[in-house]
Amino acid sequence: MSDITHLQFLESEAIYVLRETAAQFTKPAMLFSGGKDSIVMAWLARKAFHPSKLPFPLLHIDTGHNFPEAMTYRDWFVKEVRAELVVGSVQKSIDDGRVVEERGHNASRNKLQTVTLLDTIEEHQFDACLGGGRRDEEKARAKERFFSHRDEFGQWDPKNQRPELWNIFNGRKNFGEHFRVFPLSNWTEMDVWQYIRQEEIPLPNLYFTHQRRIIERHGQLLDAETGFVTLLEEEKAKVKEMTIRFRTVGDATCTGAVLSDAKTIDDVVAEVAAARQTERGTRADDKRSETAMEDRKKEGYF
């Protein structure tokens, strides 16, 4: 019996995948949003190439609707690991006429990210993008590979995926195609939290309890503090100060908060263990249809 713990196994597997990515591709990049999954992934990358610097830049697809706390963290982290930062801006994609901003009070820039991401990949000629996606997050992601092939349009074809056998990853591709690579594929939300606890990884304070002005919409607790969520006239009077934390951190317009008193990582771990809702249950973008994630992934989203 190999007596390593499940966290040791997951860590070693992720390091293996990160090194395979650096070795098999000419110009990889690592997506970094300042959310916990990308933080853990970048943390593992530092371990994989220690004592070297990361052999690829961190890539932030900036929707312009970021929580300021996540941005502060991003800039601190980039310095901490001595990484290079590349930013792809959704605002610039809008200004350039590449995408048209959604209208209406439910408008979100989440979907527009895909165009900015694909443009940035093309501009910098990245041939692999590392992402912090996990297969436990969503049913379409459960079918995802570690090395996920994308055609020249950035499309994912779930019916034509390369089989992955043992720990042999095939990153061969034609010119213009690229790969998405997910080193945390086998991690669950709980694994991520237990790892953060074990490694004492600092996180943006959004993940811990704080007071925030919140508006409840379609059963979701949305941020009313940053001003990115467009409030209807009748909603303006209903904004309430609540004690919350975020379970996932993405675009402020579609990331829901949860009521929580969790002050420490231990508190969060206990809360996640008792949770009866999935993590992505707080994400409005997944609720648009039964196959919202699959459809976005086919277009080139993560």
């Binding site: 190999s2 713990t5 196994f9 190439f49 436990d136 390369r162 095939n170 061969r172 263990a273 039964e290």
Partner: protein
């Protein structure tokens, strides 16, 4: 809090499930996830709503696992999906593979990373062709442990006789398998939950563990630290910084065995020996490696070592030859014909290779070898001969699943078209088993 896995103690078990569509595979997975409280309310709600919309009479737990649009439309599982659940004792990764015969390749894919296979048997039908086929695949892929979950016991009145008959039939059948299979038989009802998580009152004659107890306690990856030391090099770490001016670390994951600082090692294919000066991790230096963990290793001498090379012990050298015989499973519609060229990926190495001979195919229903083969089609399993552009350093798959496995990549499409398990170097009689079949 009782659901909380203890991260300092809990180990990981990876298993795959096999069985025909109607054997209750989805129900069993649904039951394991549900009873271990791994299904969330919003997921269950979504499945209930979908079931209602589709007009299903009951909540269709298969919708939890069939996530793709096409799968939902057709009501079948198309591709391997991975599921996760945990108990306080262990974490589990399920490779959930489709049951149809046309998805043999998916079963092989799921089995390649599994330590254990659950094969579902319908108690009413006993050991059938499908059971034999799945047992054969588990045996071929060298899955250490097999569980025969004898399902639908409620439909045979929880009869001890029926269960004993299946045990006897299976014991008779398994003698014909190419490799020995360590199997445990458990009578269950996935639908009602008998002996899945909780012990059933309906089977007082059964004194064994429930399925979950078995999964939580079964010992796997037996003795990988006793195996020969194998360290395939993935990447060379050269910081070129003031602090680490001369640092040249060989980064990789310990495939098997262990290394100690100070030990003499052999670098392949260079064939040069040196001494380990350091075993490095981000947390600091270690005295010894552990199988499955990732390190970077520094050596005393300047030897040309790069990605694809392997570091071993001088007294534990692997086999080496450009010619190998291997069992393969063919993965694609395009037929395999002799003299086709491929990229062969073995550990971290990528070599040009040609298939020179097709020895035989295996009829996986009868496990008979069929000779005089002109081509291999989708899902075919059989033995072939390969010539590589350079000598391959390998172990027989029966000895080492990491250094004995490879895939073939099509030169035109870049697709992974075959899974391979190395039998032996061609012409090497010493490694030839008495049973031509055994790998």
């Amino acid at each position: 809090m009782d659901l909380l896995v203890n991260p300092t103690e809990s180990s990981l078990l990876r298993f795959t499930t096999a069985g025909s569509v109607d054997d209750g595979k989805s129900t069993l997975i649904g039951r394991l996830l549900y009873d271990s409280k791994s299904i969330f309310e919003d997921q269950l709600l979504a499945v209930e709503e979908s079931s209602k919309r589709r007009g299903d009479a009951h909540v269709n737990l298969a919708l939890l696992t069939d996530g793709l649009r096409a799968e939902r439309e057709q009501g079948i599982t198309i591709d391997v999906a991975y599921r996760y659940f945990a108990t306080p004792k262990r974490k589990f990764i399920i490779a959930d593979t489709p049951g149809h015969i046309q998805y043999t390749r998916n079963m092989v894919t799921g089995a390649s990373t599994a330590d254990l296979a659950i094969i579902l048997v319908d108690a009413r039908h006993g050991v059938v062709e499908q059971t034999r086929r799945h047992s054969y695949l588990a045996s071929l892929l060298r899955i250490e442990k097999v569980v025969l979950a004898v399902n639908k016991m409620d439909l045979v009145d929880f009869s001890e006789e029926v269960f004993n008959k299946i045990i006897a039939d299976f014991n008779e059948f398994r003698k014909s398998l190419p490799n020995e299979v360590d199997a445990t038989l458990i009578p269950i009802s996935a639908l009602n939950g008998d002996n899945v998580v909780d012990k059933s009152d309906n089977t007082p004659w059964y004194s064994g563990k429930t399925l979950l107890e078995h999964l939580e306690t079964v010992q796997v990856r037996g003795g990988t630290s006793q195996h020969d030391a194998r360290f395939p090099v993935q990447w060379v770490i050269r910081p070129m910084s003031d602090d680490y001016h001369d640092f040249r670390g060989f980064a990789g994951r310990m495939a098997s065995g262990t290394f100690k600082v100070g030990e003499e090692v052999l670098a392949l294919p260079a064939g040069m020996t040196s001494r380990i000066t350091g075993i490095h991790t981000f947390e600091g230096r270690k005295e010894e490696t552990t199988p499955d963990l990732s390190y970077s290793i520094t050596l005393a001498d300047e030897i040309d070592i790069s990605r694809g090379d392997m570091i071993v012990r001088p007294d534990q050298a692997p086999q080496h030859s450009p010619h190998i015989d291997a069992m393969i499973c063919w993965f694609t519609e395009k037929k395999l014909k002799p003299r086709t060229r491929f990229h062969l990926r073995h550990t971290t190495r990528d070599l040009r290779a040609t298939v020179t001979d097709l020895h035989y195919k295996v009829d996986i229903s009868t496990m008979e070898q069929v000779g005089d083969v002109k081509e291999f089609g989708l899902n075919d399993i059989g033995c072939i001969r390969i010539k590589c552009a350079a000598p391959l350093f390998f172990d027989a798959y029966s000895k080492n699943r990491t250094t004995g496995s490879f895939v073939l990549v099509d030169e035109q499409t870049n697709n992974t078209v075959a899974a391979g398990m190395i039998l032996r170097a061609v012409g090497d009689e010493s490694t030839k088993s008495t049973d031509e079949f055994a790998i």
